[in-house]
């Protein structure tokens, strides 16, 4: 391969990029913007979910429960209703997203040993309806409602047991109830609800890997663009070799990917406060490898599809959607069936997510990541080799 030819192609490709305002914007700002917007959208605390209350008990205890729900910043009690029909109506019209249904006897269940027994045999006299159309806020709201209710009921029942024992009830029996009351509830809540920022620490590094696929998507139109512009015919009529064309086209995008990595690294540290525990030089080297792997796949698309829109859509189907859903960013790869697991190995993003999380959160060494590094090497080298083989210096 002739080095001058590679550089000549790289230089002209660089000029194409920086002279097209849309592509310079998408390539330089796009990934960082994607990181910020999606991370914020996913991580924003759910607040003030509108709640309605259908209180058939009308007791001080039910009042207290409603007050506590309202006091929590995730929930906002906006109205009281008087019938199940009204509950359904308001849910449908999305005036409220959560309904708290308190049946008659709620207070009784909290005020006597018999009530406590009925709580466990017949179930509690309080239940919830949640509008699940927005799953993220729905889940948060539901967990909050459960946690608040259970905490209040536990507290209230403990007070009742204290009073019973003061009134001279059988101590051993009281202890049995106390035991039954506390154990399951507290455990469940502690495990489920975790309000600190750990979720975003997990999300941001994964998001960096996904956002870094934008240059790969962008390069997937490069041959199609030359084809429709009419320059491909003249290019393939020159003696420049195929490897030089493809490598030269990839180089500016590698540079852009590295600039993006640095920008996103800064955003992750400064805006999202994500720690970085790995070796920065190793991280940059692995990012370049990752960029090469995505670009090799992008070039393959470019060679196979000689229509700009089609190439863009095809690479979006390959990069963006599976990148988000199969890479392990949202769902752990372990939950997928075997066949999909094999497919996800092919995705550069899967390894990119592992490497980014490893470098940011765990500070792992290259040796720990060897499997993912090997996968990226295979994708980069094989992808490029296949691209060179499929690319013909001919038209039609």
């Amino acid at each position: 391969m002739n080095r001058r030819h590679v550089l000549a192609i790289a230089k002209k490709e660089w000029l194409h990029i920086i002279r097209d305002p849309i592509s310079i914007f998408l390539l330089m700002i796009g990934p960082v913007l994607m990181l910020i917007i999606i991370s914020y959208a996913m991580a924003t605390d759910v607040e003030n979910v509108p709640v309605m209350v259908y209180d058939q008990d009308g007791s001080p205890e039910s009042d207290e429960l409603v007050k506590r729900l309202d006091r929590h910043n995730v929930l906002d009690v906006i109205t009281h209703v008087d019938s199940t029909a009204e509950v359904e109506d308001k849910l449908k019209r999305r005036e409220a997203r959560v309904a708290v249904l308190i049946e008659e006897g709620f207070a009784d269940q909290l005020s006597s040993i018999a009530g406590l027994q009925s709580l466990y045999t017949d179930g509690p006299r309080v239940s919830f309806i949640i509008d699940g159309t927005d799953p993220i806020s729905a889940e948060t709201a539901m967990e909050t409602a459960l946690q608040v209710s259970e905490a209040y009921m536990t507290e209230r029942l403990n007070v009742m047991l204290d009073e019973q024992s003061e009134a001279g009830a059988d101590e051993t029996l009281i202890e049995v109830f106390r035991e039954q009351l506390t154990t399951p509830i507290t455990l469940e809540i502690d495990n489920r609800y975790n309000p600190d920022l750990k979720a975003i620490w997990d999300l941001v590094p994964a998001m960096i890997a996904v956002a870094l696929m934008l240059p790969g998507m962008s390069i997937s139109t490069t041959i199609a663009r030359e084809h429709s512009q009419g320059t491909l015919e003249s290019l393939v009529a020159t003696p420049v070799d195929k490897e030089a064309i493809l490598l030269g086209k990839a180089l500016p995008y590698v540079l852009i990917s590295l600039i993006n990595v640095i920008l996103m690294y800064i955003v992750a540290r400064v805006i999202f406060g994500v720690p970085f525990r790995g070796n920065l030089a190793l991280y940059l080297a692995l990012s370049a490898l990752y960029a090469f792997a995505t670009l090799a796949v992008g070039l393959l698309f470019s060679i196979l599809i000689r229509n700009v829109e089609a190439a863009l859509w095809a690479s979006m189907m390959f990069f963006l959607f599976p990148g988000m859903f199969l890479s392990g960013m949202f769902f752990p790869v372990e939950i997928f069936p075997f066949v999909i697991k094999i497919e996800t190995l092919e995705l550069p993003a899967t390894s990119g997510v592992v490497i980014n999380r490893g470098m940011f959160l765990q500070g792992v060494s290259a040796r720990v990541l060897w499997w993912n590094i090997l996968l990226l090497l295979i994708i980069a080298v094989e992808g490029f080799e296949i691209a060179v083989r499929l690319f013909k210096k001919r038209i039609a």
Partner: protein
């Protein structure tokens, strides 16, 4: 320099329902130092032929060599030695003239001092000096064609393939362009140029008339014109449409072709003019003038196309034989 033997190219549509034979049964040799014109209307197969010779399109069957290199097996060797100018503007519109030329020089390994010298020389030659910093997109059609020619010349190719280099260019620029081609030819380059224009064909030392993927006739412009049977009479009259209808039915008239306010009447013999004048006035057409004219390439071409269609699309020589 170029030997083409039974070359054929068929394009099959992706659905495999239709196929187009763009070039068929093409046999032709072009010697060093020729200025060869590949002449024909749109869709004749000129571009397809030149693309195959440039090594960027595989023939369906047949073979050809360019400078002794096989167009399929040694395509890359051909690309080293050839100057190819595609019909469509092939330089980068977002790059300046200088950037485009430097790119082409890199790719053809024109480096060092030789590069600037060569670029200067070519810009003198094509008069593009004042536009070096201009983006190719902002050049006029004629200047774009000249820039594309400049790019095809950077590595001093002995052989040039130019695909319709003057289509869509104003008449002044066209003339300039042909002066450049004539100069290149005079300096010893072999030039193969495709064109739909007959006046340009007249400036070639040899022309190949292409139609429907076939090479109908191939010879010097003079010889091609002499192949037109009989003689040409130029008719001026008050009602050319009526004259054309009348003349077409006459036995001694081979072909009638309108050119503006003149009707070219191809007859079996000069001596027929008296009979023609008589027949015209009989039909009520006022003849202004009817005199012998030298045959033009265009008349020959149209005549050959009509013959070719009338002979069920068999080439002229075959019909003669």
């Amino acid at each position: 320099m170029i030997h083409i033997n039974q070359l054929e190219r068929i394009f099959r549509s992706r659905l495999r329902r239709r196929s187009v034979t763009a070039v068929q049964d093409l046999t032709l040799s072009i010697e060093p130092g020729e200025l060869f014109g590949l002449v024909g209307p749109d869709g004749a197969g000129k571009t397809t032929t030149l693309r195959m010779l440039a090594g960027i399109l595989k023939p369906t069957s047949g073979e050809a060599t360019v400078n002794g290199h096989d167009i399929v097996k040694e395509a890359e060797a051909i690309k080293q030695e050839l100057g190819y100018m595609a019909q469509q503007f092939g330089l980068y519109p977002d790059l300046t003239v200088d950037e485009n030329l430097n790119f082409i020089c890199d790719v053809f390994d024109v480096v060092g001092d030789a590069r600037e010298q060569r670029i200067q020389e070519l810009l003198d030659f094509t008069n593009l000096h004042d536009f070096r910093q201009r983006r190719a997109r902002q050049l006029s059609g004629g200047m774009q064609k000249k820039l594309a020619l400049t790019a095809a010349l950077v590595h001093r190719p002995k052989l040039l393939l130019l695909d319709e280099p003057t289509t869509g260019v104003d008449p002044v620029a066209r003339r300039e362009f042909w002066d450049i081609l004539t100069e290149l030819h005079a300096s010893g380059s072999t030039v193969i140029v495709s064109t739909p224009y007959m006046d340009e064909a007249e400036r070639c030392n040899r022309v190949g008339l292409m139609y429907n993927g076939r090479l109908m006739v191939c010879d010097t412009p003079g010889a091609v014109k002499r192949m037109l049977p009989g003689a040409v009479l130029a008719l001026r009259a008050d009602n050319l449409a009526a004259a054309e209808r009348v003349l077409k039915d006459m036995q001694q008239v081979i072909d009638v072709q309108p050119y503006g306010d003149v009707l070219s009447v191809i007859v079996t013999d000069h001596g027929d003019s008296a009979a023609i004048e008589a027949r015209l006035s009989e039909a009520g057409v006022q003849v202004e003038s009817l005199r012998p004219a030298p045959p033009r390439l265009e008349e020959a071409f149209i005549y050959f196309v009509r013959q070719y269609a009338a002979n069920n699309h068999r080439p002229i020589e075959e019909v003669r034989a």
